[in-house]
């Protein structure tokens, strides 16, 4: 009993000294802290952060929109006229559609990376930007479309007109086939959608 008392005291003092040696040693160990805004940690190679869409390469195939599990991507396309030349993507594909709307609600985005894989032209991708907090949630709705509002409207009007003409032609052709046109063909075509 008495022996244990002394052994306890000895052990206590000894373990305190060991502990003090360890903490003193750690005083001179370089800190692991990364001083964030000044120093940024190196991200892993395939880190998933903010999405970016390179609109020059987008062909409006809607595959990313369909792949998105949380429906945060919204795309709207308008057919181009045969006379229009939209150019080609960097992968050499010919662009056939005007992309009039390409919105990503990054507030909804779950950073799953599923939209990136289906893209045939590799135009939607994850960047290493992660500092995009906002005071207003609406600011997190990113518009990637490069067309201006007027351009979108003209494109839509043109497409509607073209469609109308096509429909008129079709109707005319049909009427000619029937050889007995009763109704004016223009009235049968669907009314142009005001955008």
């Amino acid at each position: 009993m008495m022996r244990k008392y002394f052994i306890d005291i000895y052990k206590t003092i000894w373990s305190i000294l060991i502990g003090m040696r360890i903490t003193f040693g750690h005083l001179f160990v370089p800190a692991v802290t990364i001083q964030y805004p000044d120093v940024k940690p190196k991200l892993p190679e395939r880190a998933r952060n903010r999405l970016y869409v390179n609109m020059d390469d987008c062909i409006g195939c809607l595959q990313c929109e369909m792949a998105c599990p949380v429906n945060c991507i919204e795309i709207e396309t308008v057919k181009s006229l045969p006379t229009d030349d939209l150019g080609t993507t960097s992968t050499g594909q010919k662009k056939k559609l005007w992309v009039t709307k390409f919105d990503i609600d990054i507030a909804k985005c779950c950073f799953c990376d599923l939209c990136v894989y289906p893209c045939p032209t590799e135009c939607i991708k994850m960047t290493d930007v992660y500092e995009f907090s906002e005071f207003d949630r609406n600011n997190l709705l990113y518009n990637f479309v490069t067309l201006t509002k007027q351009e979108v409207e003209t494109v839509k009007a043109k497409a509607a007109e073209f469609e109308k003409e096509q429909a008129a032609k079709k109707a005319a052709a049909a009427a000619q086939a029937k050889a007995a046109p009763v109704v004016a063909p223009a009235q049968q075509s669907p009314p142009a959608q005001p955008s």
């Binding site: 008392y5 305190i16 003090m20 360890i22 903490t23 003193f24 750690h26 005083l27 160990v29 800190a31």
Partner: protein, 339 residues
């Protein structure tokens, strides 16, 4: 210093007023600096950096910013609290901490009051803190506060005994209770310091005093009165703003007070460790403060090394370990003195 002031002012009132304020000139910057230092030490011991931004260089002005924040904070008094006691408790604690500085010799030229019962006076007034703690805990009308205050009282009262006995060993060698006299007896090289006298009994007494003083100022590993994980913040739970700051300030003032007493009793106080080298009243202040700060740093070092004791372990350490060993030291030193 008292004589110089008397020659200049020729008015007792102003002389004592200035003498009373002089320690504050050291204490206030010390407390601000020590809180920052403690945060830095704790951070680096855990491989962190601690405050780095405020003020530019390693966050040196963090505590100043904290103090300004605390000054602006709303002073909340709980509805169920006893307002009078609640309000005066922090000041009683601070007064008891500061009163000790009246007899601490900062150098051969400065001591607030060179009374012949100096160390006895310190022991007496520092235990007054118990009254403030119990007052604050009880007046808060909060179970955490009350439990913390009860624990603090039990702890401080228990640990007074070994610390006083350890001091007694030194007093027996010195043959005086005056702190200035005790310092004078340790003049010369560092082997004249009492901690190296009658080896190892006074050294053991120093260890006992140091451990007991940790408990008296409620520092880890004896911080059970404010054990965060059990009692929120113990007796300071209900305090906010400047009253909380006063508790904090008093804690750091107390830390330096017990370190200063340990430095005076065991490490030669304002004496230079190297005989005549850099000695004198001005250098005395330097040696005294650096010895005190050294012990304060050890307190911080221990704080970030050891876990908190259980209440039963606390009582075991006091009554079954420190007190018998302190008695043994007193008796051994007594016999040595008779030889």
């Amino acid at each position: 210093m008292e004589q110089i002031l008397r020659n200049i002012l020729d008015n007792d009132f102003f002389v004592y007023g200035i003498m009373g304020i002089v320690p504050l000139v050291w204490i206030v910057p010390y407390a601000l600096f020590a809180i920052w230092l403690e945060r830095k030490i704790s951070a680096h011991m855990q491989d962190r950096l601690g405050p780095m931004r405020t003020g530019g260089w390693h966050g040196w002005s963090q505590t100043i910013a904290d103090m300004l924040k605390l000054l602006q904070k709303e002073d909340i008094i709980p509805a169920a609290a006893d307002k009078t006691l609640f309000n005066i408790a922090p000041y009683i604690i601070f007064v008891s901490a500061y009163a000790a500085y009246a007899v601490i010799p900062f150098s051969s030229g400065f001591i607030g009051a060179d009374i012949n019962v100096g160390i006895f006076y310190i022991i007496a007034v520092t235990s007054l803190a118990v009254v403030g703690i119990l007052m604050g805990g009880w007046a808060s009308n909060n179970k955490w506060s009350l439990l913390g205050a009860m624990r603090a009282t039990a702890q401080i009262v228990s640990y007074e005994i070994p610390s006083v006995l350890a001091v007694l060993a030194v007093v027996m060698i010195a043959g005086t209770l005056s702190l200035q006299e005790i310092n004078n007896l340790q003049t010369g090289w560092f082997w004249n310091w009492f901690v190296f006298q009658k080896f190892p009994f006074v050294f053991v007494a120093f260890i006992i005093y140091f451990v007991a003083s940790l408990a008296e100022v409620n520092r880890v590993p004896f911080d059970i009165p404010e054990a965060e994980s059990e009692l929120v913040a113990g007796y300071v739970t209900e305090y906010s703003g400047m009253k909380f700051a006063m508790f904090m300030f008093a804690e750091f003032v107390n830390m330096f007070a017990v370190s200063a007493v340990a430095a005076t009793l065991f490490f030669g106080g304002w004496n230079s460790p190297f005989g005549e080298f850099l000695s004198g009243p001005i250098w005395g202040v330097f040696w005294f403060l650096s010895k005190g700060m050294m012990l304060v740093s050890v307190q911080m070092w221990l704080r970030w090394t050891l876990p908190r004791l259980r209440v039963d372990q606390l009582m075991y350490v006091s009554w079954k370990v420190l007190t018998p060993w302190a008695f043994a030291c007193v008796i051994a030193v007594g016999f040595w003195m008779m030889l």
